[in-house]
Amino acid sequence: MSSERKAAARQRRGVWALGAFAILYLVFLYLPVLFLPLFSFNDSRFIAFPLQGFTLAWYEEMLADDAMLNALGNSLQVGISVAILSTILGLLGAKAVTRYAMPGKEAITAFIMLPLFIPEIILGISILILWSALDFPLSLMTVAMGHTLICVPFAMAVLTSRLDGFDQSLEEASLDLGENAWMTFWRVTFPLVMPGIASSLLLTFIVSFDEFLIAFFLSGTEPTLPVFMWSELRFPSKLPRMLALGALILLASCVLVVFAEWLRRRGVSDAERGGGYGIT
């Protein structure tokens, strides 16, 4: 009896230790990153403790930086077009993969996912070689095409899981009730896949917006925001405003990620409720 109790106590201690470890892990995960917003309000050009008092000067400096704003505009432009393009491609691909039986499906899926398993530097230089071989000038468009390559796998993954939980007889029911293929897409498929589309758009936008290395090789004279930041990191005098910029980007991506995740989960549970046999 007492040995059992001892074993239980030991197990409880084990769980407690695991929990403590997990908390420490979160601290390790977040603490370094939190220094960015912390020092972005610090009234000193030097990044060091103790803190020197609160200031918004770095944010003002950042907002007055035209080159920065230009890079931001470039990144938004690239990010939005990449998000739309890769989500459309991902939607078509996900529909094909989930709905149609065809030979070679696994090989095709693996090929589409391949960019996630190739170091970005390799992707960057090989695409650079392609454009130079074709004498095609580097521009935001070449960046966007490179980003589409790494965003399509994400879009496919999100949308495939969304379409997988989708009962195909819903579309058949619509056809059966007299609607044609287009109206069926508009009245049934689209509303049900919408949360997946939205989270795909958000996630691919974030991936493109944050991507550095491919853009570094392919951006030519028009830098995206990460490329601009990279070039500015060399100048200590510009560090504080980079901190401010970084803090804002972190905040924005957090909000977008939480929103996308929420959308995705809501979508999944909807599909579970409606797509199953629903016996209560």
Partner: protein
Amino acid sequence: MSEQAYIDIVGVTKRFAGGVKAVDNANLGIKRGEFFSLLGPSGCGKTTLLRMIAGFEFPSEGEIRIDGQNVEGVAANYRPTNMVFQSYAIFPHLNVRDNVAYGLRKDRLSRSELNKRVDEALNMVKLQGFGARQSSQLSGGQRQRVALARALIKRPKVLLLDEPLSALDKKLREEMQFELRQLQQNVGITFVFVTHDQEEALSLSDRVAVMFSGKILQVAGARQLYESPSSRAVADFIGSINFFPGVVKGIEGQEIVVEAEGLGLLRAPIAAGTGGASFKPGSAILVAIRPEKLSLSVEPPPGNAITVKGTVLTSAYLGDRSHYHVRIPGREAPVAVSGTQSARSLDVLHAHGTDIYLSVSGSSVILLPPD
């Protein structure tokens, strides 16, 4: 097929990728206003046949005619058929009312006319007042009713039902069977009903087509399927049955004489033969006897029934009847017997090891071609 068939299925074969024949040269005529069932084990091709009538699959060979017109190349949304899906396929983003009204959008009805039609349909399936419910809040039975209303509101000429009751529990299923039959009589349209549940098929349908690995084995009413199955497979699939392989000895007047395993020489009316069994002396034949046609007695029964002696192996008391397994000499497999409890019985009638007489009237046996 026949003159008055509303749906004609003529030599239809469906091959899937890899050459598997899901439906193999099916011929069928379904009449207007009929409650028609496609019955068979899972994978027998019944759902594929139904989906070809609906327009979700297209025949590889042969043709389907609805109201006399070949529907090859006519998509599902142009056919006068509507379907109740096995999963019900209730649109999860719409409430009950919008689900039911879904198919009317194209007809551009006035709001009042639309509401009237929806209310009618909801009444028909006893879902008055459920219109505002979200589909996620519905029980299995309610989902099924919504699926029915959504299909019927289109006033189809044919309602196709793909195992609509299989997801329901037993009690609800029996209730819905009764309601479906009533509904069909009220609206008077053709129902084509797919099921793997023989009781369901027999009790609901005017006629049943029994399907087995892509082939239609027999099309008949419930009584005929049970009492005069046309083949061993049908006899075996519908209800339980004992098979005794035998040989035809000869014909004497209106009776044929057969020697069968364990039963010895027996006489059965020529009318007992079905499915084209050959009565030429010397040809093989299969004697089939349903368990409830056999009776057990301790004393030899009077009259000229076919009688053999045997020993009870097991007995199971089921309330309204009892099941026995009886060993008879000259046959390895025990014979299944089902006896009704017409009088109240508090004692064990035939315990293990009891020697008894097994008898059946010659007119109750079925004579089938061997396989």
